[in-house]
Amino acid sequence: MKLKKLTLVTSLFIASMSHAQTNVVSTQMRPVEEAEKVRTIILKGAPDAVNFIPEDGNTYFTRMKAELGAAQGKVHATIALDGELSPVNQIGGLSDLDDLAKKLSSSREFSSSAMDLGKMGGANQRFIPLMTNTFQMVANKKALQYLPAGANINALTYVQLRDWAKAMKDATGEGKLGFPAGPKGLMHRYFQASFYPSHTGGIVRTFKSADAEKAWADFREMWAYVNPRSTGYGFMEEPLKTGEVWVAFDHTARLLPALNDKPADFVAFPAPSGIKGRGFMPVIVGMAIPKNTADKAAAERVIDHMTKPATQALILKEIGFFPVVKSDLSQLSPGVQMASQGMGAVFSAKDGRASLLPVQLGAKGGEFNKLYVDTFTRIVLRNEDIKLVLAEQGKLMDALIKEAGAPCWAPDAGSGTAPCPVQ
């Protein structure tokens, strides 16, 4: 009898413990330091106990698919890039959040473009935007003396960037321009965010156009002035900190540690413009609620807490991702303020051409990114014939997009419901 009582009490205790926490699975803020900051600082004022569970982006979809298969899900809410939420949405895994969106909008001002992206191309709100980020460039102040005459660092052109890199190489004997072309680097984003939109105006339609051929030839020429160790760089903050590279392009979160470390040594500025404008890519992280969530109200409370202006400012201060809600940022460190100003310059550039993350490709997004990096490897690193490479890679891209059935997305002109063609 005593044993029976004991087991009953223990199981009730365990059951109550598992119900007390709101489980949030997140692909963002995964590194140990960031996750600790989320648990101890950012989630501090949350109404319930939140169990913050980091998950690798590569295994995120597999995990969510498995969780959605359960009758009552253990995942209350989830945080992920819009590109990572897209395949989950495509299998019908996210619940509609229109009521929550309306309720939250009454007490804070969301960025309207971010809120729109939360509909994921459909009629209903599928995620509430949580934070945003973008790609930009950072330069060591030592490099500024080599800028070509008449160049405005906040409005560079690709020609000026090439000249700048050449001047730095001539003066120091080393390539001082760097790109994140390593295995963990976001080189594919460079091509999708800046290279293709700025030079050709599109990323799929114009993949093998005459503009693209010229752009690749120019890039191959500029690569002579780029640090060859770029094929090993994952996070540009490392070579920037050691001084191996003076000018770098990368995701703001991967540049921020260098800016925070030595804010007096660096400047942040938008990527250069080409003949078709100044390409940039806004990155949105959103919070969504799986369809089989155990407690929708608890999930909504966490989303409410995370999107409060005070929490948004905390997220920027601790993690380095920027708010989607109007918040007071005056108390933040000079490095973060510099990054924030750089981001502002990117988003408000007059010749800006927004390029969106390829969300409709779902699970095929990885192979889509591979196409750009393979093209770069073949043309720039292995010196193959540009026209031939673009023709072959273009054929692969066409097949991939047809297989995914994805219509064109910004910056390409729309194609209705037909798969985006490579012209």
Binding site: E174, P228, G232, G366, R378
Partner: protein
């Protein structure tokens, strides 16, 4: 239970455990290379793997690494084992120091050697301190594939010779001392003793060490990844990329199966060439 059935009954739990949690997932993964998500048999994933930009290069690089690293390690480990055999004082200390790399993870070893060979790493610091170079020299650059290979080979030899050493040391200790002493009495030189007595009696250990090291060498990944990243594709690295970055588990599974086939083929070759007669296995 009767004594006949007891061993099978006792071993059954671990066999069931292995079958359910290892063999079954392994079989499912292997099938993924030939089956689409909805169950139709297809060769598209294998053709995708074979036609990939990096497949041929990864295969070539892996074969070159195996062909260079394995014989070098066998020779070095053999030398180390013979030295240990002839030591009496400090033998344990040397054995301990030489097997330290066994306890270091592949990736940690790769990162340590990266810190040495990096542009601003220890090697360049020493070289420039001695006046051999004027500034940071790039040893790990795609523009200098020979230097990159040499760096990877050095790191691999440092990391993995210990495994071969441990097997050979155990094998050398099994050789009865009497044979060597008798040969010495008859006036055989040390080299002749080594070639005619030690090596043939070491054959079973050599075979085990070769097979083990070759199979592991085909799976070389973490050290190459840390030192060379994208510049030196290898088979397991490509499998990793297809699974992680390109999110196509089917092609990754095709790569894994390919590596398995190559490993099995090389093992069969060793078993044939280094045929160990039943009599020599006391």
């Amino acid at each position: 239970m009767n004594a006949q059935r007891a061993p099978y009954v006792l071993i059954a739990p671990s066999v069931i455990f292995l079958l359910v949690l290892f063999i079954w997932p392994l079989a499912e993964t292997a099938l993924m290379a030939f089956r689409t998500a909805d169950g139709t048999w297809t060769s598209q994933y294998v053709s995708k793997m074979l036609g990939d930009l990096n497949f041929g290069i990864a295969l070539k690089n892996t074969l070159i690494l195996v062909a260079i690293v394995v014989p070098l390690q066998m020779v070095v480990a053999l030398g180390m084992a013979m030295m240990l055999q002839n030591m009496d004082r400090g033998r344990m200390a040397f054995l301990y120091i030489w097997t330290i790399p066994l306890g270091v993870s592949d990736l940690a070893a790769g990162l340590a050697w990266l810190a040495i060979f990096n542009d601003r790493g220890y090697f360049n610091t020493v070289l420039s301190g001695m006046g051999f170079i004027s500034g940071p020299t790039s040893w790990l650059s795609y523009q200098n594939p020979a230097a990159l290979f040499v760096c990877v080979i050095i790191a691999e030899i440092w990391r993995a010779t210990a495994i071969v050493l441990v097997i050979l040391v155990a094998g050398v200790q099994l050789i009865p001392k009497e044979y060597n002493e008798a040969a010495e009495v008859f006036g055989a030189s040390p080299w002749k003793r080594f070639m005619k007595i030690t090596l043939p009696l070491l054959k079973p250990s050599l075979q085990s060490a070769l097979i083990l090291r070759t199979v592991l060498a085909f799976e070389v990944f973490a050290v190459v990844y840390a030192l060379a990243g994208r510049d030196l594709p290898v088979l397991v690295g490509e499998a990793y990329n297809w699974q992680g970055a390109y999110q196509n588990t089917n092609v990754a599974s095709a790569y894994a199966l390919f590596i398995l086939v190559v490993s099995i083929a090389s093992t069969l070759v060793y078993l044939k060439v280094l045929k160990v007669k039943r009599e020599t296995l006391s």
